[in-house]
Symmetry: C2
Subunit: 350 residues, 2 copies
């Protein structure tokens, strides 16, 4: 159907702050971190497919994860396997360029593969509102109503109300310190940037051609060869030349300053499960542990019983081959452990 809604799932990033649960070969989006029986990318699929149908979802992942994705999402028809990671703009841009060839009036929505949403009907309603704004030619984002002065997210400042019902975006701001985040909360009208972008495919590609012309050229070349025998060779030639850049920097920031972006407030229980502190907030208690003068998070599938004594806000993650012991206060620094392992001989654990 022309003018349909198409979802793009960029499944990049390994989630190093969830090591040892997440590994290079088994990144966060492939994991059932909630214990629901479905991985994060499967849950993402589950909540998008009612909006798009199976044929309306395009997933972009690294070549190393293609087979795992195909196993977890047997109904996925549009999979783009990146020869190398080039950040989110090339991934989303190529998906948009391929979708627009099938449906010139397509509206696309890009949603991370590894986020969690509580209230799916509310999420669908927000997407519908974003689609309305997108049909008017804007790039719409869904901004998360902040639950606190988090320094872990970028913020979106909203402006006046638009005819679509969405709000204009005044500006995007990078991750602030906690004091600044508190000012945003006190001020009101600020939202967390969850990386959800909804736009007409032709609109995003026109912005791309204007703001990142070289990148646009490479993506166009790849898209033109996609359904031909030349796909592999053209991809091999052009992909490494694409600009490595996030969609936030390539499009969202400059377009917002031109008044071309809208934000739809989202209040549906969202988490990026960015670290073990975030995971602790959405996890059921592990049945195989005991805390004595202690509390915190015990997780992982190592099979062992865990006893924690005398440590508050402890984080203990046991897997078959590795155990992490830290505290919630240091949850954001787990990537330092991964960096240390990278610099040692234990790259088998990455």
């Amino acid at each position: 159907v022309t003018g349909s809604f198409h979802a793009i799932i960029p499944a990049g990033g390994s989630g190093t702050r969830l090591w040892p649960l997440s590994r290079a070969e088994r990144p966060k989006f492939l994991l059932d971190v909630t214990g629901s029986g479905r991985s994060l990318v499967q849950l993402t699929w589950d909540r998008l497919v009612p909006l798009t149908g199976p044929d309306g979802i395009t997933l972009v992942c690294g070549q190393a994860h293609e087979s795992a994705i195909r196993e977890q999402l047997p109904d996925l028809t549009h999979l783009i396997a990146e020869p190398s990671p080039r950040d989110s703009m090339p991934a989303i841009g190529l998906a948009a360029a391929l979708i627009v060839r099938r449906d010139r009036d397509a509206v696309i929505g890009s949603f991370a593969a590894d986020h969690l949403i509580d209230d799916v009907p509310k999420f669908h309603a927000a997407v519908d509102q974003a689609i309305t704004a997108a049909r008017e030619g804007l790039i719409a984002t869904i901004g998360i109503k902040p639950e606190g002065p988090s320094s872990a997210f970028g913020y979106i400042e909203s402006g006046e109300k638009l005819t679509s019902g969405a709000l204009a975006v005044s500006r995007f701001v990078e991750k602030p310190d906690t004091a600044t985040a508190q000012q945003y909360l006190d001020h009101g009208g600020f939202f967390w940037n969850a990386g959800m972008f909804v736009t007409r495919a032709d609109v995003i590609l026109r912005h791309l051609g204007r703001l990142q012309p070289t990148l646009h050229e490479h993506l166009t070349a790849i898209a033109q060869a996609w359904d031909s025998p030349a796909r592999a060779s053209v991809l091999a030639e052009h992909w490494p030349a694409t600009t490595k850049i996030a969609i936030d920097h390539a499009l969202a920031e400059p377009v917002s300053l031109e008044g071309g972006m809208a934000v739809v407030p989202g209040d549906f229980g969202w988490s990026d499960i960015g670290d073990y502190l975030a995971l602790s907030e959405i996890s059921e208690p592990d049945p195989d542990c005991v805390f004595v003068d202690a509390d915190g998070l015990v997780t992982g599938d190592g099979g062992q019983f865990v006893a924690v004594l005398g440590i508050d806000d402890a984080v203990v993650v046991r897997t078959k081959d590795a155990i992490l012991v830290t505290t919630k206060a240091r949850a954001q620094d787990v990537k330092q452990v991964v960096a240390t392992l990278k610099s040692t001989a234990r790259t088998d654990l990455l």
Copy 2:
């Protein structure tokens, strides 16, 4: 040889402060906690057998551990399997009563099964000096020169020098607080009570008959039936009736007040490996771990790599079925974890 030296190894106690390394079925003395390839009871055997020969060692353990002991100590000939734990006095008293029947002039020395000694020649020299004092009719103990104001041990206060070269014991004191322990160190002449007692068998049994006559009667009855077909039935009748009491309270304290005890200073690198703090002081670093903004002890044979982030003096112990996470400051409280497991459904982990 009459008047020989005989060693008694009371192998009781499960070492709950070393859970999950030590278990009810696999107590501390059966474990190779040093990574030497020999368990603590094997190391105890190794340093006693040069003084006694294999036939001069009597080991007392619970019936549950008899087969493991026989496996670890194939040359052990005198094993007493207790039907139930009655603390150290019945165990040592029965061993003494059995030894004196084979060698009426025997000198016996009792040494814990799960302590560690660095300098074995120095230990042998201290035992020799204790034997000299014992032959004069005293109960001699080897007191450990304190390495600090520990509150984990009882103390022995020494008095005047005796003809044997040992010092008289003024008194035994129970585990003091750290401030009192510091006063002992400042004062000098105080030693840690490591539970090493050297005495003529007839002397200890005479004291026992005088101070704990009922206990003495039961042990005498058992000893008389030991080498007869009635052993099992007599043991079953009399053992449960023995007074449950430690040798410190039954004999060492009252006899010291009568001037009947001597102490030989020991300075041979001693540890009771009483908790993970003590274990951390004698352990080689585990090769399969990394500390990031952290330090402490990682041990156990769970096979997993351990990463510790942002916790000082951490203690992480991984075994096949259980993981303990605590700090050195709370090492003495690991028994609380064991108590908690006892009160829950996880008695399989004890």
